[in-house]
């Protein structure tokens, strides 16, 4: 049995399908203001079909917070969902259509009110058929249903037969069930506040497991996890994990979350934890047979998180040059795998040939540069001594090149201006080539690095 609930007008902030979910989980939203629910199996909860219709009608009049829609609805119960829709939209109050006696209720409805969209007939075709029926003198559903099926099929085709079944309340179809919008948010409130990280993992684990199960059920993944922790001092600790690729492995999420929490621990004991995610379509990638292997995305993320914990987040990534001539100007970008797939390998060959034309000279740069004491002879460096925490450079200059003057960013406070030299130092029979420079502003000498 099916029940159709029809409301002429409901407040904008209330939803008729949400109201219908109070009575059955199988809900079809036919159009705005009309829903059909499957009431089979609801007898234990609401009693007979008439009692159910009465309950629906009474509860609909209640206010929104009390579970109603603040309006009067018409309810029709029938064995056929289309018959229930026709009855509910045409007849106010409660209508009960007995199985097999649909025409008793629907028979007097004008043929113009036949809802042909229920059987997915185009408006143009339906209008032609209805016009034909009027020419034949057919005025009501009962008139149309009483026509011989063979004659309707010969003259109006299969569409005419379908419309005749609709008028007779004998169509057979399944409900186009409206799925409730999935919610990917789970939270837990703790009886006792957690002060240590290890017990927190036992709170994260079930939440992430539920979250990934929900994502899996909807064939989705996520690339952004948000964790909100309510703390004992009434503060809120929020963390957001952004992943380069969509994933739904709760074990990986748990490890990432624990590593992140270890790096950014909450400042007070945790009273409640809430985890939400942004659902996206999972990543589908077809790797080539001849493409070199690359780290698995989930393993790579875990490795990056562990490396970040070991050496600091700012110390891992891919370098990127900045658009400036400032010495040693670069930025660190997040390392992500490139899904470049060239089967012919032309790109690599081209780039490799470009490399062959360049003179690649290795340079090891000292960060920070070593402050140096330079002895000059006739204005040329002759002896260099520089000491730092990790290294020291000293020796006699046996060859040199330069100077090259570089200046830049004169409009900024951190402008630079210096004379650079490349010097070969000899010490204990060993020779090495270094780059030194003299800051023009402070007249101080530094060793920037060595050629290697």
């Amino acid at each position: 049995m099916f029940a159709c609930i029809h409301a002429q007008q409901i407040p904008a902030d209330l939803s008729l399908p949400e109201f219908a979910y109070n009575f059955s989980p199988v809900v079809e939203e036919n159009r705005t203001g009309t829903v059909v629910i499957d009431v089979d199996g609801c007898e234990l909860l609401f009693g007979s079909a008439y009692q159910l219709a009465n309950e629906i009608s009474l509860r609909a009049k209640k206010a929104g917070p009390q579970g109603g829609v603040e309006s009067t609805v018409s309810v029709a119960i029938a064995a056929n969902p289309d018959a229930a829709i026709h009855a509910a939209t045409r007849l106010p109050g409660i209508t009960f259509v007995s199985p097999g006696e649909e025409l008793t209720c629907l028979g007097e409805f004008p043929i113009d009110h036949l809802n042909y969209s229920l059987v997915k007939v185009e408006k143009k075709v339906a209008d032609e058929i209805l016009e034909t029926l009027k020419l034949w003198g057919i005025r009501t559903f009962a008139d149309f249903a009483s026509l011989p099926v063979a004659g309707v099929s010969e003259r109006l085709g299969q569409v005419g037969v379908t419309l005749q079944q609709l008028a007779a309340g004998k169509t057979e179809r399944h409900l186009n069930v409206k799925q409730p919008a999935p919610v990917f948010a789970y939270s837990i409130e703790l009886e006792h506040a957690i002060t240590e990280l290890e017990p927190l993992s036992f709170v994260f684990a079930p939440l992430l497991h539920q979250l990934c199960a929900a994502l899996n059920a909807h064939a989705l993944a996520t690339n952004e996890l948000s964790v909100v922790m309510q703390l004992e001092n009434q503060a809120t600790h929020e963390r957001k994990l952004t992943l380069p690729h969509p994933m739904r492995d709760h074990k990986v999420f748990l490890k990432l979350l624990l590593l992140d929490t270890e790096m950014h621990p909450p400042p007070a004991a945790v009273r409640s934890v809430s985890i939400t995610c942004e659902p996206v379509k999972p990543r589908v990638l077809q790797n080539g047979l001849f493409v070199p292997l690359a780290p698995a995305p989930d393993k790579l993320e875990l490795t990056l998180a562990r490396l970040a914990k070991l050496v600091g987040e700012e110390n891992i990534g891919s370098p990127a040059l900045l658009d400036t001539h400032r010495p040693d100007a670069f930025s660190m970008n997040r390392f992500t795998l490139k899904s470049e797939n060239r089967r012919d390998g032309k790109g690599a060959k081209n780039r490799q040939s470009a490399i062959g034309n360049r003179q690649s000279l290795g340079f090891r740069i000292f960060r920070p540069p070593l402050r140096a004491v330079v002895q000059a002879e006739q204005g040329w460096p002759a002896q260099i001594s520089a000491w730092g925490k990790r290294r020291s450079v000293y020796g006699k200059v046996v060859s040199l090149a330069g100077p090259w003057r570089t200046t830049g960013d004169w409009w900024r406070g951190d402008r630079w201006a210096r004379d650079e030299w490349d010097v070969m130092l000899e010490h204990s029979g060993q020779q090495a080539v270094y780059r030194i420079y003299r800051e023009l502003k402070t007249e101080a000498w530094f060793v920037e690095g060595n050629y290697d």
Binding site: T303, L307, G317, P319, T324, K338, S360, A401, V433, D452
Partner: protein, 262 residues
């Protein structure tokens, strides 16, 4: 009945009945990754995958140039690479000039902590999928590299032995002991030349990166004749220690060769 049977006859009898049981079966040829320098590839056959390769030598011997060449070749051939930079000496400007594709390079910057560098290398090797992992301890004092316990090297070797990963250790002195499948010793010294000093070659091809602003570097006029590089670095001696990753005592050959990269 003869009581004494010669060894050759015995082997011949057994071979005729059971096949080539006395033949030493060689392991399949080890896959290698090019260093990007044809002369070194011709000498060594490339960097063996699934094994440790060691490059050591003093400052200005060409270790970093070789490292850049390896990274440039690997990254442009779609290998994912990682560099564990123990003392934070990697110069991105110079590396870009060498042709390294930064999109495929994971740079781990250390702060001189040797233990962190080894742990980071271990994490990268266990993650799998990297074609080339370089551990740069070239600026670590020799007294510290000598203290590195062998179990680290055995652990690295065991981790990658079934994987197509190349581990390269850059150091000042040999430190991987028997764990390295390939050892390159760079004894080259920096070389300067005043010959063929052309104005355009006065400034060495310092690191030229694509930029949108005009360079502001200029040569200061001096009376002294310009000094230039014929070629700053050369690798003049390479010691190749070829051995199997797991059985260093077998099939070991040591030879020396001269490679001049000028």
């Amino acid at each position: 009945m003869k009581a004494v049977v010669s060894k050759a006859k015995l082997e011949a009898d057994i071979t005729s009945r059971f096949g080539d049981v006395f033949k030493i079966h060689e392991k399949p040829v080890v896959e290698t990754l090019s260093t990007g320098i044809p002369e070194i590839d011709a000498l060594t056959g490339g960097l063996p995958r699934g094994a440790i390769s060691e490059v050591f030598g003093p400052a200005s011997s060409g270790r970093t140039s070789l490292m850049y060449s390896m990274l440039a070749y690997a990254t442009t051939h779609e290998e994912t690479c990682a560099l564990v930079d123990t003392n934070d000496l990697f110069a991105p400007t110079a590396a870009a000039a060498a042709g390294i594709d930064f999109d495929r390079l994971l740079w781990v910057r250390g702060a001189g902590n040797l233990e962190h560098a080894f742990k980071a290398t271990d994490l990268l090797l266990h993650a799998g999928g990297f074609g080339l992992v370089i551990l740069d301890i070239g600026d670590v004092a020799a007294k510290d590299t000598r203290r590195i316990i062998s179990s680290w090297w055995y652990r690295f070797r065991h981790t990658v032995e079934d994987r197509p990963t190349v581990i390269v250790v850059i150091s000042e002195e040999a430190c991987t002991r028997s764990c390295a499948a390939l050892t390159l010793e760079l004894n080259g010294a920096a070389e300067w030349s005043r010959a063929n000093a052309e104005p355009s070659a006065t400034a060495p091809n310092r690191f030229i990166a694509p930029r949108n602003v005009l360079p502001m570097r200029k040569q200061i006029p001096v009376n002294r004749p310009p000094v230039t590089y014929a070629n700053l670095l050369r690798l003049n001696t390479i010691k190749v220690n070829r051995q199997r990753p797991l059985f260093p005592s077998l099939n070991e050959s040591l030879f020396r060769a001269h490679v001049d990269l000028r």
